[in-house]
Amino acid sequence: MKRVYVCNDTITGIFSGIYDAWKTKLGQEQLGIVLKGCIDQELFCEYAEVVESEKKTIAVENLIKKHMGYEAYWEIYHAVLSSDKEKGDAILGMMLEARNIPQSKKIMQHLSHPKVRKVFELSRNVSNEAHYYREIIRFRELDNGILFSQIEPKSQILTCLGDHFTDRFPLENWMIYDRTHKMFLVHPESKHWVLVLDEVVNEEAIKKVSVKEKTYEKLWKGFFESVAIEERKSYDRQRQHLPLHYRKHVTEFQ
């Protein structure tokens, strides 16, 4: 009978699930992970609720770093952030496969294994999406001086943006709000960034922009219009690079 571990769609949840599965010492065919709310009851499966804990998470993290190396760790780190429902299962499968091969640190070279390939693809999608947001995130200056941005990404990419914007704006107070996953990335001036969960956004406060803000938004929109060369106009090409659904929170398209 296959054992399937049911966990929350968080790093702690998934890593705790992997921890429980790993402990059983069973093989790939006998183990699985499924996210809460996505269970498709199968016959011959035994479902087990995961009790998540920080301790289990850290243990799994160390296990990956130690035995699979940083390359694999990085791929898994990104894959966990994906919106794909089978990501937990793919990561578990990849880890179990790493146990079977002679050099587990070379696991990323085994792309012919379906679970390894899946993790690789998820990771690539997430890092591409994160890169996309490095380009098209727009900050607005609120009346309290905070630079505020909101996005609606598919994956939970906030942590992938933290270092980039911290290096860029070390002396600013800034904040990015992920509307899809209701999370905040918060950077207080001259400090490290932090991820804030379980908070609600104050919709009124984020509408109150500074006096200067309107001016610069207008200047930017003016610039955006005037740099296009009339004789070369091509909205198709513009859309090819910047699909409409990404434009929702982008200043120059509002």
Binding site: R138, R140, L219, G222, V227, E231, Q238
Partner: protein
């Protein structure tokens, strides 16, 4: 000249970004720099593009002129002194504020500052210097700066500016000295190439200083670039490509940009205005060839010649080269060296290096090549795997050409939106699609078709 005292900032920005937009370089790439914790901004080597304007071009930098006042009279330029256009100038603080405030909102990667020649080249260069100095020291901006060196400005000034900028460029403007004389009477080869050489030498010296003192200030770390206007003067592609090659080899430029001529002035020295729009396909072919020079080890004289001085409208420069050199094909994928592989149509430099790596592990077949990103429908005429071709095929110019044309080429949308009218621009290529079809049908020797 109209008076522009008390002009609003938004009006100025409008005029001075509009006047700068014909400059094609917009990349923010070439250097990595972390913030030192005392200011704002960093640089990312691959460059970051923040938006796309209505013409589909990437917006990465705040691209503006410091002023569109100009004492020169370049025929192709909207700002030439003889034009009656509205003139405006920024102050250094205005440029700094715009840069910082746009950057804070993540609109841009940095500043691209160019300028008309106001009063004198030195006066203008001094204004640019003051602006950058303020931006770097007072405003503590550590993002990307691309600045134009003004032809005719003194070496000391160019030197000083070079220590504040990431990239510098001097526009070559036109491919030959003759054309320059005709269309840009106040400029000449010498005062364009002098600052270019200066920047090149400055970079070389700086490299040595950096070896000796790791913390020495950095001079133009992202290198220099230039641009040429294509289609305003009668040079052929062969001449243009030779100029580009010389610039890469002798001046160690990072990039040469090509800018399809856009009609903004009426002037008897300019080509007559038609309704065909800028020569975008020609521009595209030049970029493809430029890529071959920089990454594929091609030389200009391999791609074109006096006899055959223009690129083919219908096929890209690499395919064209391969068709002219069928004697070297087919090549055996399991043995050919990296450089030979890169020359095969359908094999890019990435797939070439994948092939070289993968074949160490075992013999490759066509299926493997496909997985490595080789475009087999193009490559199949030029390669063997284990001594076998993919299908039995003739190795004959017109046969292969016809088949490659059936496969089609993926052109950027901006180019494919051209109508037949625009293709007729290439009449002086002795080339027309109809003509080709007719002749190909008759199995005419290819030389006649490609001209």
């Amino acid at each position: 000249m109209r008076i522009t005292e008390n002009m609003s900032l938004s009006k100025k920005l409008n005029i001075l970004s509009d006047a700068a937009k014909y400059d094609v370089a917009c990349t923010s790439s070439g250097t990595d720099r972390h913030n030192d914790g005392t200011g704002i901004g960093n640089c990312v080597k691959a460059g970051i593009c923040h938006s796309f304007s209505a013409d589909g071009r990437c917006i990465s930098l705040l691209k503006i002129l410091f002023t569109n006042e100009c004492i020169f009279d370049c025929k192709y330029c909207i700002n030439r002194t003889s034009n009656d256009v509205e003139r405006a100038s920024f102050t250094p603080d205005e440029v700094c504020n715009l840069t910082i405030e746009f950057y804070r909102r993540n609109y841009i990667e940095g500043l691209f500052l160019s300028s008309g020649v106001w009063k004198s080249p030195d006066f203008t260069m001094e204004m640019l210097y003051q602006t950058l100095y303020k931006l770097r020291t007072e405003y503590r901006f550590q993002g990307y700066i691309h600045v134009k060196a003004i032809p005719g400005a003194s070496p000391e000034l160019i030197q000083k500016v070079g220590f504040l900028a990431d990239r510098m460029s001097v526009n070559l403007e036109l491919p030959t000295a003759e054309s320059l004389r005709k269309l840009a009477p106040h400029k000449n080869r010498k005062n364009i190439l002098t600052p270019m050489r200066l920047v090149q030498n400055g970079m070389a010296e700086n490299k040595q200083e950096l070896v000796a003192y790791r913390n020495a200030p950095r001079f133009v770390p992202a290198g220099q670039s230039t641009q040429m206007i294509i289609g305003a003067t009668p040079e052929n592609d062969f001449q243009i490509l030779n100029v580009a090659e010389a610039l890469y080899k002798k001046f160690e430029l990072k990039r040469v940009f090509y800018s399809a001529f856009v009609h903004v002035n009426e002037d008897s020295n300019l080509p007559a205005r038609g309704d065909e729009g800028p020569p975008l396909l020609r521009e595209h072919r030049l970029y493809q060839a430029d890529w071959l020079l920089r990454f594929y080890g091609f030389e200009a004289k391999e791609l074109l010649s006096e006899m055959n001085p223009n690129f083919n409208v219908l096929i890209d420069p690499k395919c064209n080269w391969a068709l002219e050199h069928l004697e070297v094909f087919p090549v055996e994928v399991n043995r050919a060296d990296y450089y030979t592989l890169m020359r095969v149509p359908g094999i890019g430099y990435k797939s070439a290096s994948r092939i070289v790596k993968a074949r160490r592990m075992g013999v490759l077949n066509f299926e493997d090549l496909k997985k490595m990103g080789v475009v087999l429908k193009r490559a199949l005429y030029f390669i063997t795997c284990n001594g076998k071709m993919m299908y039995p095929t003739k190795i004959e110019q017109d046969y292969i050409l016809r088949n490659l044309l059936n496969v089609g080429e993926k052109l950027p949308i901006s180019v494919t939106q051209m109508n037949y009218k625009q293709l007729s621009l290439f009449d002086d290529y002795h080339f027309r699609q109809e003509q080709f079809m007719a002749e190909a049908g008759k199995k005419a020797p290819i030389e006649k078709i490609i001209g």
